[in-house]
């Protein structure tokens, strides 16, 4: 199984900072959006680890396109 990151959404809601990922699981299936991190540091490592746990894959099975940058608060 391959996971491709299509986008990362970072937002504030009632005092929380929430990171959600929009990924494609096994292209060309549709995108799905899920909350990934809440009130945690947002960096590449944390994102890869969280995705890896969520989709039960190894970090090397996650495709991270070059144009996707880690969003900053």
């Amino acid at each position: 199984m391959m996971i491709e990151i299509r986008g990362l959404e970072l937002r504030k809601e009632t005092g929380d900072i929430i990171l959600s990922s929009i990924v494609t699981v096994n292209y060309p299936e549709d995108c799905e959006k899920k909350e990934l991190l809440r009130n945690k540091p947002v960096n590449r490592g944390q994102i890869l680890t969280a995705l890896s746990k969520m989709y039960e894959v190894k970090p090397w099975q996650i495709v991270w396109p070059r144009h996707i940058k880690v969003p900053k608060v």
């Binding site: 990151i5 299509r6 986008g7 990362l8 959404e9 970072l10 937002r11 504030k12 809601e13 009632t14 005092g15 929009i22 494609t24 549709d30 995108c31 959006k33 144009h67 996707i68 940058k69 880690v70 969003p71 900053k72 608060v73």
Partner: protein
């Protein structure tokens, strides 16, 4: 060694019109919604939300909820680090910037009696790396800003 186009590719001849119609359009994923609901800082610019990726904004709105004035505060839309919307509610009203594409944001509500201020987000802006929503508060208060931005990613 294999040569030529893959089996699922077929050449077309535009001159003799081997196909009746050719459709060429960018391909986007499903619509997604960025929802923001957050208090902002006093007399400062506050980051509220962002999307990292490549895609297009379909539309949306930003509004502020407070029992107090915000007419001179500034809702901000930043796309690929360029501020495409950075005009106060008052100036949007003064210069009648009430239609899409006058700026990234355009005025939808300006009610200084009931303190309702809303901007719309223009449809069709594409982004290559990210877009962000921010708010610059200028009245020394701590309003709550709500936003709902509809977008899609490639």
């Amino acid at each position: 060694m294999a040569e030529g186009l893959p089996d699922y590719h077929r050449p077309i001849d535009v001159a003799i019109q081997t196909m009746t119609e050719i459709v060429n359009r960018p391909k986007y994923g499903a619509a997604e919604i960025l929802i923001i609901n957050s208090a902002v800082g006093i007399n400062q610019e506050t980051w509220l939300g962002s999307i990292a990726g490549k895609g297009m904004i379909y539309g949306g709105w930003i509004t502020v909820d407070l029992q107090g004035s915000q007419w001179n505060s500034i809702p901000i839309l930043r796309i690929d680090n360029e501020e495409v919307g950075r005009t106060s509610f008052a100036n949007l009203y003064r210069y009648s910037l009430t239609k899409e594409h006058n700026e990234g944001t355009y005025l939808r509500a300006y009610d200084i009696t009931n303190q309702i201020y809303t901007v719309g987000i223009s449809h069709g802006f594409t982004f290559e790396t990210q877009f962000e929503i921010l708010y610059y508060e200028t009245h020394g208060l701590t309003p709550t800003v709500y936003a709902r931005i509809i977008y899609a990613l490639t």
